[in-house]
Amino acid sequence: MSAAIEVEGLSHVYGGTVPALEDISLRVPAGRFTVIVGPSGCGKTSLLMMLAGLRTQTRGSITCLGRPIPQPDPERVGVIFQEASLYPWLTALENIEFPLSLRGTPKDEMRRRAEAMLELVGLTGFGARYPHELSGGMKQRVSIARGLVQDPPLLLMDEPFAALDEQTRMTMGHELLRIWSTTSKTVVFITHSLTEAVYLADEVLVMSARPGRIIDRIAIDLPRPRTYEMMATEEFGRLRDRIWRQIRKPD
Amino acid sequence: MKVVAVRLALLALVLAAWQLLPSRGIVNPLLLPPLGEVLQMLGDLLQRAQVREALAVSCAEVLVAFVIAVPLGAALGVLIAENDYLGQVFKPALFVVFAIPKSIFLPLFILVLGVSFQQKVAYAAFTTTFVVLMSAAAAVESVKQDYLLVARSYGATQLQLVTRVYVPSMLPLLLETLRISMIFNFTGVLIAEMYASRTGIGHLIASWGENFQMKQLFAGVILLAAAAILFNEALRWMEHRVSTWRA
């Protein structure tokens, strides 16, 4: 399996003085679901921004699908943020169409693709609603649909469910896995929730506190499709525990 | 620090322009006398009895109007904030009230009270009361329900709620209320004096303007602007002192 993402010796320093990331190297094989966890401020969001082409690292290389990514490339890499950041003056459907409209895609094609995405995230019929008429979970679904509409092979997600209550989070996680299994994309997902990490991931990368380094890679061998019942198993608890101990370790 | 330096530089620039442009004749000195001459005139004016009397009258009007408006407005404001029903009835009306030029009622005050000290005070108090009302209502509403709940759950009496929760929580806002209300109050008095009066600094300024006595006019403008800014900054400093705990 070829690597969808390769990061080599990446380091980053804020404003020339504050080290944020230290010597990060990782390989994400195509089609895998990778989760990154780490304490607050460890630089995981910065790393994601660099993978998305929204920020440039001080040192080291990043290749996504074999090419570097100096600028955002939404047809290659889709990004989903913690805040859905839907534009309040556009309907849900228009929000999904937005990236396509930036490229001058013809109207009927935009509509067709957006509606397909709406269906994929389970919101058929809600297209004409404005963001303020949608719940938190629904807004995130629209945000995911927007990130998927250009069918990028790579999907980066920065704590997309953090602002949701726990029950919605669990539902959304499950939905995300469903969507992922039908589209075979490569996903890099950041979260604070250890349960979420073990539930979703093929592999969990644990980062240390600032300056962030990768201190552990944990393969999650639980069978797919994942179910809620798995959360009660001993294996699940063991994996969670391992992550927790890694994060708690004083440096 | 750098920001303060830039601001001071801007101020110096403006003052220098005020001095140089008229004195060099680039701007007509009859329309805009050079700053130096204006300041000289200011010193002169402050020594004249007529000016001193006018200032005294205006001060008195400002104070009396303030003393009337603040308790009245505060009482009404607290009432609207505490009583949901009254709030619902009157708040939308208040929006409209603030969109109206209250100066149009000045003739009414003159018709009833004549051109007099009382009329000017009444008008200024009238305009200021609304502002105090709104600020007071906002101040009361700003006290977080959570704080009150905690105090009540510990058995605080009504008096204790007022003194131990409301007042400390509202203090910065109350000072801000005073500050902003004074701006309105001052304006109200000046407008009343400029409109129809034989006394007061507003009247003096208006008549200097009518008689093209530009030096005196600008001297008066500087004096009043300085007084307003000083008072404002003093209250702002006090606000700052009592709100160190605010986010």
Binding site: D73, F81 | Y85, Q88, P101, I110, I183, Y195, L224
Partner: protein
């Protein structure tokens, strides 16, 4: 208890009834309070005069709005959008806010005379600073994540401005227009009352000095109607065009109360 809106309407009707009856019954002299019917009659009689005065006032308001909203919104957007400018100028502007701008009015009449120019200048400046402050504050409420999201979707700089910044600023711009118009009306009316030769405010003063109360009240009524009409119109426009904002922040009353010092 009856619905608040009903109470308000009842109070309004009550006031109008009092306006008619109290003077008629001699409870207050007609000099102080002419009855509503007298006022309306006079207004009808002199409709041409009042109409002409209204046009003068409206023209001055429109020009003042051009200065205040045009300049105020652009300056406010600049100040609000650029942190350096903001830190530099905002405290200065809010300090200047404490100065009663009316003191500048005699300066304007000395410079521009008693005609419309001085009114436009005064009302323009009067409305300018509050619009600037309001726009600067509004621009800052725009979620910076909007631009990050746009960039991540590959939007060019031009697209970011046209497709994100401008739509996101619309509520602020509309609020600025509403505020600027209201303040321009107030500024023009005050200056017309103080020294003028034309306009509705002038009619108030003129008739007051000859103790013609019905005509004074007629002029006051016109101004009231004008202000209220503008308020209603601008709110309606705002709701219509910024329909998605309706779920957002309702106008804060405390804010509204401190925007005009007159």
């Amino acid at each position: 208890m009856p619905a608040p809106a009903t109470v308000r309407r009842a109070l309004l009707v009550g006031l109008l009834v009092l306006w008619e009856l109290v003077p008629r019954l001699g409870l207050i002299p007609e000099l102080f309070l002419p009855s509503m019917s007298k006022t309306l009659t006079v207004l009808w009689h002199d409709a041409r005069i009042y109409g002409h005065a209204l046009l003068v006032t409206l023209m001055e308001v429109a020009l003042a709005m051009l200065i205040a909203c045009g300049g105020g919104i652009l300056a406010g957007a600049a100040v609000g959008g650029f942190a350096r400018l903001r830190n530099l100028l905002l405290p200065v502007v809010s300090s200047l806010y404490a100065v009663p701008i009316v003191i500048l009015y005699p300066v304007f009449t000395a410079w521009f005379g008693v005609g419309s120019e001085s009114k436009v200048a005064f009302a323009g400046i009067y409305a300018f600073f509050p619009v600037l402050l309001s726009t600067a504050a509004g621009i800052q409420t725009i979620d910076p994540q909007f631009l990050v999201a746009a960039r991540s979707m590959g939007a060019s700089l031009r697209q970011q401005i046209v497709r994100v910044v401008i739509p996101a600023s619309l509520p602020t711009v509309f609020a600025g227009l509403r505020l600027g118009g209201a303040l321009a009306i107030i500024g023009v009316v005050v200056s017309e009352m103080l020294t003028a030769a034309a306009g509705i405010g002038y009619l108030v003063t003129l008739n007051r000095t000859i103790l013609d109360s019905p005509r004074v009240f007629a002029a006051i009524l016109m101004i009231l109607l004008l202000s209220i009409a503008y308020y209603v119109l601008s709110r309606a426009l705002e709701r219509r065009f910024v329909v998605w904002q309706s779920a957002g922040k309702p106008l804060q009353l405390a804010q509204a109360s401190t925007q005009s010092t007159v």
